[in-house]
Symmetry: C2
Subunit: 232 residues, 2 copies
């Protein structure tokens, strides 16, 4: 019998940790008792406690900060998570991922146009200004600024569950997206499309925001499909 396969103490401990967080009213960012205190409280050895902590860390329920301690993680209240074990997205998955974004993001852009607050709009404008400074620069920075644009638009729609879904989809296809943006013409067009979406949101034009977001994502998909074709 494999030692790790026992219906485990670590399962029970994971539940007790979640209960401790919930009943203690702890929110993301709050500090939890130390490893030593937790071992004593639950009357378990450090290795057993660690198994439970690693599980909770892997799913974002807690954060283990080097030299500092254990904190409640930002993901504990999320319904949906990106798969942290995803290392490469297969070609077929990448196109499906784009289709998923084409279904979800345009209506969110419309909602954003209706509901965004002025501060959120200013932050979005700033994110695009930031992106424009990286058009000729580092891939990673431009990519981050672009993903910030898509995440912020989804957040402004005001539905936290859909924001989590979009956030998850953007997280897993980061590396591929980065590769796609290597050509400057694509980078600039991508950026200009983002600006056009922002302008529609600023103008509170829901239909145009939706239509521009859809056209933009269809463009992105077309570029990806083009790149994926084997060289003749």
């Amino acid at each position: 019998m494999s030692e790790v396969a026992r219906p485990t103490l670590s399962d029970a401990l994971t539940e007790r940790m979640l209960e401790l967080i919930r009943t203690g009213g702890h929110r993301p960012g709050d500090r939890l008792p130390s490893t030593r205190e937790l071992s004593q409280r639950f009357a378990v050895t450090t290795p057993t406690l660690r198994e439970a902590l690693r599980r909770l860390e892997a799913t974002g329920a807690i954060e283990l900060r080097h030299g500092s301690g254990i904190y409640v993680g930002a993901a504990i209240e999320r319904l949906v998570l990106p798969n942290p074990n995803m290392r490469e997205v297969r070609t077929a998955q990448l196109l499906e991922l784009l289709d998923a974004r084409i279904l979800i993001e345009p209506p969110l852009a419309a909602l954003a146009a209706e509901q965004a607050g002025d501060e959120e709009l200013a932050a979005l404008r700033q994110a695009l200004d930031e992106a424009s400074r990286h058009l000729r620069g580092e891939d990673a920075e431009l990519h981050d600024a672009n993903m910030t644009f898509h995440r912020a638009t989804a957040r402004m729609a005001g539905n936290s569950v859909l924001h989590e879904v979009v956030d998850s989809l953007l997280t897993v296809h980061g590396p591929e997206q980065r590769e796609i943006l290597q050509i400057f013409d694509d980078r600039r067009r991508d950026h200009e499309e983002h600006l056009a979406i922002l302008e529609a949101i600023e103008a509170r034009d829901a239909a145009q925001a939706e239509q521009r977001m859809r056209a933009h994502l269809v463009d992105v998909k077309t570029v990806i499909e083009h790149r994926m074709q084997p060289p003749r």
Copy 2:
């Protein structure tokens, strides 16, 4: 310094396990080497190995089967996961969850009407027959049959990423949904709406499948909103 907060051996080990699965060409359901073999291969102690295994188990990348061993998990290829630490969905989240489903599931029902294979349709019909047998029975069984209907419809749309998203959303709001279905009239109406959606899909009527799925989910949301109102 907290012992668990070191930039860890267990992080590195998690990566090496994922690499072992990937480079070995292992697919979900495949058996992996035993704990003892893995400890030897990676030259680590069992407690350290267990931390890594628990992380991977928590996110569905591996399954630890009691008395049997370590297997590649079904979730390893997913992009999106339900949060395994979610224990109760807050009221506001539940309504947002329904709005998310209202956005995503109706277009999937339309795609299902266009793309479903005959075998898939037969299986869906069977799932609803199964549900009809539980209308007066156990909550859990009826609930499972109903969720099977929604998952199967999403799967038939042919986009694995959107199927994962719907699957994740259905997973986290299981318990609340169950509570909602306690009244027989609601149960029956719910079931009849499912049947009407299936009929539209069977008739290959995409527009009607989409419209019926939307009306159904709006109904579900209305029931939930009604239930949530504090008693006067």
